[in-house]
Symmetry: C2
Subunit: 250 residues, 2 copies
DNA sequence: GTACCATGTTGCAACATGTGCAACGAAGGG
DNA sequence: CCCTTCGTTGCACATGTTGCAACATGGTAC
């Protein structure tokens, strides 16, 4: 493991939050200003840092590479048009989260038409137990993988409706697997709710989930549930585009 | 400048293109496998790399940081809803490109409803002379900045309609400044055309441009020009949201 | 079944590379 | 005009990075 690279990455983490001056960065790392400067110069030369008013931020080369990476995820280009259609029709925020190794990560996001934007971000890992997409994926995982998730989860409640024990979560997941869709009843932020359905790959395994999210004040769960036929159809359409055919259900 | 960090960034560039195996990466850098491995392990630990089937790709932490950075650009959150509205209404691809230092960079992109997607990418620098957004920004720059752009440009033609000399470009920019909008008549790829208008900040300076882009076969320039009243209104609306008022024209 | 090749991984010694220091220049405030 | 603060440069030292050789693993051919 390379100390120098570790420091460089740590710098990026630091100024991604907000632009930072050289001095700040040096003290943050606990190194001499000259050391920080040389790392920054290297990052800047590579387009990973960019000076702005005497401070440094994330450079555009890094942004472009990250977007390129998302485009390369097989799911993103396939699913995107479907999500846009959903967003168009209902005006609420639409998410696609994908199972990647031991995480469930937002891969696409279509903002709703309202003035507020959800805090979620593409590339961010979701809380499996407090989000619709998380539960929609968990519900269909094989025993072993699901258990690995269940034991790693931090069950501290975010809101009054949060699921706070593996047992409760397991029961909820069974219910979800049976009826074919999941919901988030303000379990992460009490003023936000959503409905979600799974997405399958060519081998019939659930690899992702699509959700429609809205402020409770704008569209309560009862209303979101009315979108389920369309949402389910969208989930199936994406699955089909990925090569799935109904008869190959595992 | 740090050689180690340089190598690490070079690795990211390399596997962002497509997933790469350790051996490939080592020979690409011209270093020993063990060296490449340690750099990769560091990148992986920091979430900047991610193993996938014996190869490495861009990690999700890096993606999340890049998205965070774009959200922090003042323009992006302000302009995004306006662009979505345009995309909704016409179904064509909408771009927002911002002037950042000595580059014009795509900051937001709303994909059209067609099956094809434009190759452009958020974070990518645009060709100033062959794109609508590029020319719409150039047209309003102060002499000095504009000239710096004009001399740095590579005037090799991309298509039959490309502008191939500083003189021709300068004339075109004057025309644009006069009428208030720019167009790209297949100057980068002959089957793509677009119209673009400038966006001003609170001080009245042009800092960005919005464009509607479409395949010529789908919507030729004559049709795109019909969107100009709406597009102009959108540009003005974004400018107003940035604090601009018509009387502060410089 | 075995031999072979390609691939990724670890321990170690050598030295190239990154490090902190001190000194300098520039910019801004009292 | 002095003083402080911040970024930048040159240099000597030693720390962290490097390549090597040996090992481990998995796949392929015979």
């Amino acid at each position: 493991m390379s100390q120098t690279v570790e420091r460089a990455l740590s710098i990026i983490e630091f100024f991604a939050d907000r632009p930072r001056a050289l001095g700040e960065i040096a003290t943050h790392l606990g190194v001499h200003k000259s050391t920080a400067l040389r790392l920054l110069q290297t990052l800047e030369a590579g387009g990973f840092a960019r000076p702005v008013g005497g401070r440094y931020t994330v450079g555009f080369r890094m942004v472009a590479l990250a977007h390129q990476a998302v485009d390369h995820l097989e799911l993103h280009p396939v699913a995107h048009p479907h999500l846009v259609r959903l967003g168009d029709r209902y005006g609420h925020t639409v998410h696609l989260a994908q199972l990647v190794d031991d995480q469930i990560v937002y891969v696409t996001k279509v903002d709703g038409r309202g003035a507020l934007r959800m805090r979620s971000r593409v590339g961010q890992a979701v809380n499996p137990q407090t989000s619709g997409v998380g539960k929609a994926v968990l519900a269909y995982l094989d025993e072993q993988t699901r258990d690995r998730f269940l034991t790693r989860i931090d069950y501290r409640p975010h809101t009054a409706t949060s699921i706070t024990s593996p047992e409760a979560l397991r029961a909820e997941l069974d219910r979800i697997a049976e009826r074919g869709w999941a919901e988030d009843d303000g379990e992460f932020e009490d003023f936000v709710n959503c409905v979600a359905v799974p997405v399958r790959d060519a081998r019939g395994r659930v690899v992702a989930a699509v959700s429609i999210t809205a402020l409770r004040a704008l569209a309560p769960l009862e209303q979101l549930r009315e979108y389920l036929p369309d949402l389910t159809e969208t989930g199936t359409a994406i699955s089909r585009d990925l090569g799935w055919t109904a008869d190959r259900r595992p």
